[in-house]
Symmetry: C2
């Protein structure tokens, strides 16, 4: 079986944990509950225990990568911010993993892990300069430049969801106004439609309880030709085009990768994003610049986290 | 005198040419007219002749750096775009310099050269991750990441002036709408005031011919408390804050450097830019992040161009 790389993808309610081989295949995986109100060591034990067990079974695990919902420090050892799971913040969680397993560990922001995963195993394999936007409940980002993840001064780089799309625009969860996250996340798209229904300006959702509306329903209705839904999707794509086009003019990228739940809508959404990006990015910069869906799907979180170890060996 | 580095700073009407020593001091300098309508070799000869002469005088010139008003290719040998001096576009100008002088030569966008100059000799000396905005007639940019100039896929990276500040906003010289250049360049600030005078909404410039108004006059009037001028300056700073704040959230920078004519207004302008940047960039990212004026002043163009050679040796 050869060398294996453990990945822990920490989420607010559960963590996904697995072992990945050198080809990016999941060998074994499991889940563990995130006990938000417990002591940080108890939370971490739930994640580490399965790996200890796999190790005891004789699996050759060479390192552990951790993807977390927050910002790790430059040495990738401590979550400096972790709004969703406060007990983990500022605790030596990576050191603790190393102590319990006696192998090296690294942590990084989950969207950065996703970019690392795509770079090593997925849609970013052939590219040296790309950004990846992970569009789900929020909008996360990862940046690969000169064939390496770019982490910046403190290790926090890649907060692409908090680039301003509309100055003075919608209030964002981060407290700022106009961030692209407030326009293009699933949450934002859903709110756009719900608000229209509530104020009576959207009438094409009759018979559907606004509370049950999710991104999937909106995309399906858009694909079926519903004007209101097409507008909601195009509005998100247009703001994405503004910021992605700006990124392209700024960074002269090789590619742009779109991941996360919303990207599952496929070409219907990607084509719109590409159209709007072309309205902003200069033609010379857009030549042969693909806007691609992420390749890693279901287990992207585990593979991305495990990829942090492969990245070290690269 | 030791090793010397030649710098050619190509402009639409004149080029500045000089020799720089290892400490960034100008040893000798001159100017040459840009004969826009001549053959590219004739244009280049006017720039190269002084260097040939200095070489013949026995000066130990180890290389030639060229800053051009356009985008050089990845190998930094050919201007792929050069709107201001069309004959130079797509010609082997760097190869020609090497042939005439028999020493290595490199070319890069003038704003990128400015960033290289600041990185080696100026305000960027102590920083590994910074952007430099050159605010003059237009807005140029240079990006230094992981202690090296970031050039991107084709060598075109750094077009920070064409990042969108206002979606669907003012028409920019590049054909796009809403670029930061259309809001924060000297040209944009002057137009803002001139338009106000023309339509009668700005009355505090009575007795001043709108055609004679330049950025210096506007900044002086703003410093003296004129509401209309303060607004024009603050409006530019506010849009700069939006894009710089976005850059900070994206790239987790060490510093931001502001150069070009408009930056000569000093802290009056920089303080406003810093204020607006803080409204967008996250506090953790803004901690100890200086927004600094460029250090190299009069001969920045020559020193920046010459720095391309020093950068190679770094």
């Amino acid at each position: 079986m050869g060398k294996l790389f453990a990945g822990i993808d920490i989420g607010g309610t559960t963590a996904k944990i697995g072992l990945v081989d050198e080809n990016g295949n999941i060998i074994v995986k499991t889940q563990a509950k995130t006990e938000k109100n417990s002591h940080w060591q108890a939370i971490m034990n739930a994640y580490i225990d399965p790996i200890v067990q796999w190790k005891n079974e004789g699996k050759e695990i060479v390192g552990v990568g951790v993807g977390g919902p927050g910002a790790f420090d430059k040495n990738r050892r401590v979550l400096k911010t972790c709004v969703n799971i406060p007990p983990l913040q500022n605790e030596p969680i990576i050191e603790y993993i190393e102590q319990r397993l006696n192998i090296p560990a690294f942590g990084d922001n989950d969207a950065t892990c996703a970019a690392v995963g795509e770079h090593i195993f997925g849609a970013g394999k052939d590219f040296k300069n790309f950004i990846m936007l992970t569009i789900g409940t929020g909008v996360g980002g990862g940046i690969v430049l000169n064939d390496k993840v770019y982490r910046g001064r403190d290790g926090f780089a890649g907060e692409l969801g908090h680039v301003v799309a509309v100055p003075g625009g919608h209030l964002c969860g981060c407290g700022n106004r106009g961030c692209i996250e407030a326009y293009a996340s699933a949450t934002a798209i859903i709110n756009e439609v719900r608000n229209g229904i509530t104020r009576g300006s959207i009438t094409s959702y009759e018979g559907i309880d606004p509370e049950t509306i999710n991104a999937q329903i909106i995309f399906d209705k858009a694909k079926a030709g519903d004007t209101a839904s097409i507008h909601a999707v195009d509005n998100a794509a247009s703001h994405l085009g503004t910021v992605i086009g700006s990124f392209v003019n700024m960074l002269n990228l090789d590619a742009v990768i779109i991941g996360g739940g919303v990207s599952m809508a496929g070409n219907f959404f990607l084509d719109k994003i590409a159209f709007h990006t072309r309205q902003i990015a200069w033609p010379l910069f857009m030549e042969n610049l693909p806007i691609l869906p992420a390749k890693l799907q279901n287990d992207a979180g585990i593979i991305g986290a495990a990829s942090l170890i492969l990245e070290e060996e690269k």
